[in-house]
């Protein structure tokens, strides 16, 4: 699947998008896998309460299933308007 990062999450991890092969069943499991990779991921995800997630471009939460998901995106709370 594609994993996308926006705003300061993108800056901390250092890239906007990457392909990830995972057996993770939920967003939370994917986050745990990413955090275990490298320190920059661990830092970016250190406060999950400060993050929002979209699965296949729909806002959801960290318990959401990512089975068959094509795209998971992580970002800070939105500041539109």
């Amino acid at each position: 699947m594609d994993v996308l990062y926006f705003a300061w999450v993108r800056e901390r991890i250092g890239l906007p998008k990457e392909k990830v092969t995972t057996d993770a069943a939920t967003v939370a499991e994917l986050v745990a896998e990413l955090r275990a990779r490298e320190e920059r991921y661990d830092l970016a995800f250190s406060d999950p309460a400060a993050l929002r997630v979209a699965v296949d471009q729909e806002l959801t939460d960290f318990d959401a299933s990512i089975r068959n998901a094509r795209e998971v995106a992580f970002f800070p709370p939105m500041t539109g308007g």
Binding site: Q57, A73, F75, T79, G81
Partner: protein
């Protein structure tokens, strides 16, 4: 219903006029426009707005559809920019047309509340001193959603 996400500036007067024109059954047109504000007293050089290209349009359409379900509306317009803007530039606008003003006002407020915290845009401020920082979401903006 028109939902537009673009980097180019838009002509607020022209858009409002086009939106309001030729409606014979709508007694109320409400427009709101958001402007880049230099709250630093001359210290803000630019505002940069990042968005999630695949999701933004859909998220705005969903918010606008919800507004149309809740209020008696004839039409809705949302324009939201992304990219680099300077103080005084218009970031976005919403317009609502309704038979009665209460629906038009409330729907416009609803649209604003939701697109502040549920549309995938992120603001970054660039100061004249060369510093840059992401604008933090405010608790009051999240709280504003509970009234709907």
């Amino acid at each position: 219903m028109r939902i537009i996400v673009q980097d180019a500036p838009f002509d607020f007067g022209q858009e409002a006029e086009t939106f309001a024109n030729g409606r014979h059954d709508m007694g109320a047109i409400v427009t709101f426009t958001g402007v880049v504000r230099d709250f630093r007293g001359g210290g803000l050089n630019a505002m940069e707005i990042e968005h999630y290209p695949g999701m933004t349009q859909k998220a705005l359409e969903k918010i606008a559809e919800e507004a149309r379900c809740r209020w008696s509306l004839g039409d809705v317009l949302v324009i939201h920019r992304y990219g680099q803007m300077t103080p005084g530039e218009k970031i976005m606008m919403v317009a609502t047309a309704a038979p009665h003003r209460k629906d038009a006002f409330e729907a416009a407020e609803y649209l604003m509340d939701y697109l502040k915290s549920r549309a995938p845009f992120w603001k970054k401020e660039h100061s004249t001193g060369g510093e840059a920082g992401w604008v933090a979401a405010k608790d009051e903006d999240e709280d504003a959603l509970t009234r709907w």
